[in-house]
Amino acid sequence: MARGKRHRVLPGFGLTCGYTLTYLGLVVLIPLATLFLKTSSLTWVQFWTTVTSERALFAYKLTIGASFLAALVNSVFGLIVAWVLVRYRFPGRAILDALVDLPFALPTAVAGISLCALYAPGGWLGGILQKAGVQVAYAPLGVVIAMVFVSLPFVVRTVQPVLADLDQEVEEASASLGARRWQTLRRVVFPSVLPSLLTGLALAFGRSLGEFGSIVFISGNMPGRTEIASLLILTRLEEFDYAGATAIAVVMLGMSFGMIFVINVLQTWSRRGAV
């Protein structure tokens, strides 16, 4: 008495799965498809000259370079912050811990204007830095600072749970075998957080690639100096150069999708590392 359709005991599969697919189709997939359709209206030569124009190339370089630098800064400080939050106890720890998520919750425009005000020449930090000969606002460094802000939670929040779950007995075993504290940290603790650290780095990098709101204020948006890829797309759109905007958007989207793949691989790796 074979039945063709697999009988499911819990109800609602058809309803929820159907709704999910329809909704995603309408809200996400159809709009995304238009982007690729629009691109296909360009010839290869047009596409190539648009995406490799000098201005565009500079925008990619700045976006990728600054994102990478920001992710690197956050890896170093994020690891330290995670370690301190998990292992040490001090007054105000809980508040700092909660505050780490601020960049997730704070609108990027607000972050943008407050960072700009802080680092502008004559601002609270900008004034000090200016005396030291460092210009942040309206310079590439400003782009990096804004990216550090928006991607700050990623490394902390991926490393923190791994550190918290780390069995202290392993460290004790290492110590009992004669390792010094530094050797234990380097050879036992660090390798076990490395996969999550890299995952955090990749997430932070991916977030920075697409960031817009917090950067536009502090960067000054000078083509060939502080213009990021997102902004170039917006500029093209405002000039009604849809084809140009689309071409650059496809390049950026390709990078983002590449990052999804990288992050998936890294996450599989870190899950495997977890016993």
């Binding site: 008495m1 074979a2 039945r3 697999r6 009988h7 005991v9």
Partner: protein
């Protein structure tokens, strides 16, 4: 209510969890599905409950086809392995759930619900814990709440998935005899799954031994223990020594030993095809550790020589590990008093003669 399972097959991907299972559970019986993990016992239980659908075959309740009946309408009480208590509801609310979700017409009044829940909590000896939440209970208490919750809807069949699996040894022992008493009291047809042979033999009226998605043997605890149908059942129910030997002239021969295996062997299917001629047939000879007679001197009975290598005398039954002449490890068990009279020592040479052997042809 009786349960009849006819030719049920269930496949998960490439894995055949159940392979044409036929089984009848008579009304009012307490039946154990016993087998190692992956034997299909839990799947069979879930198919009976309607939590899993059979790919082939049918399930009959009291002779009525229930194969396509939804779990909601089967009238089964299911006790989940990890209890699946509703963690946001108190013990009282957990037990009352099945009554509260009934359609208005069939729903008992608030007072009736209260009365019934309290009666059930009393039955499972938890009447003082009604206001607690599942998270605040011990494992054994959760188990009893799960049982009371399943009983609240007055199921015609009670199904329990590894009911004692997650409990520690002492609680498990207590709950076992409690479940047996409870069943004698309420007499609802019950099926429970276990991988613990001791549990199955102690609690059930009837044991169904399963492996690889098939039923190996069905019988009372006594039957399956003393008259195992095949090698698998022999191995699964208790320790056993295995020797590779042969059957020749009506005798089981292994090593230098040849023994009659007359009446024990005729009870099994495999020996029914035993050839009556004198031709030797290769066979496996099974001897339970407690079926050995140990002698310090050769006494004329067919016996194998062995050396004592370890003795564990902590308990009423002494466990002796030996090494036979041919180098095979042998396990024997004997009562403490007998052990004392023998004065066994490590390194001593002894003679082992089997009281009872079981033969299965290769």
């Amino acid at each position: 209510m009786s349960i009849e399972i006819q030719g049920v097959t269930k496949v998960f991907g490439d894995f055949k969890a159940l392979d044409r299972i036929d089984l009848t559970v008579p009304s009012g019986e307490l039946v154990a599905l016993l087998g190692p993990s992956g034997s299909g016992k839990t799947t069979l239980l879930r198919v009976i409950a309607g939590l899993e659908s059979a790919d082939e075959g049918s399930i009959l309740f009291d002779g009525e086809d229930a194969t396509t009946r939804h779990v909601r309408e089967r009238g089964v009480g299911f006790v989940f392995q990890h209890y699946a208590l509703f963690r946001h509801m108190s013990v009282f609310e957990n037990v009352a759930f099945g009554l509260r979700v009934r359609p208005r017409k069939l729903r008992p009044s608030r007072e009736d619900i209260r009365e019934r829940v309290m009666k059930l909590l009393k039955l499972v000896q938890l009447e003082h814990l009604g206001k607690r939440y599942p998270g605040q209970l011990s494992g054994g208490q959760r188990q009893r709440v799960a049982l009371a919750r399943a009983l609240a809807v007055e199921p015609k069949v009670l199904l329990l998935d590894e009911p004692f699996g997650a409990l520690d040894a002492r609680v498990r022992q207590e709950l076992r005899s409690w479940l047996r008493r409870l069943h004698d009291e309420i007499h609802v047809t019950s099926v429970f799954v276990t991988h613990d042979q001791e549990e199955a033999l102690e609690v059930a009226d009837r044991v169904v031994v399963m492996s690889g998605g098939r039923i190996e043997q069905i019988g009372t605890p006594e039957e399956v223990f003393h008259h195992p149908a095949n090698e698998f059942v022999m191995h699964f129910l208790g320790n056993v020594n295995v020797f590779h030997g042969r059957v020749e002239g009506g005798k089981a021969v292994f090593g230098d030993v040849a023994v009659e295996h007359g009446e024990t062997a005729t009870a099994t299917r495999s020996s029914e095809i035993e050839p009556l001629d004198d031709e030797a047939k290769p066979a496996k000879v099974f001897i339970r550790p407690h079926e050995w007679d140990i002698a310090v001197y050769r006494n004329g009975r067919p016996a194998m020589e062995a050396v004592v290598i370890h003795v564990n005398a902590a308990g009423p039954v002494v466990k002796v590990s030996l090494l036979s002449e041919s180098g095979e490890p042998v396990h024997a068990e004997l009562p403490l008093e007998h052990y004392r009279s023998l004065e066994l020592r490590t390194g001593q040479r002894v003679f082992l003669s089997p009281r009872k052997v079981k033969v299965f042809f290769d």
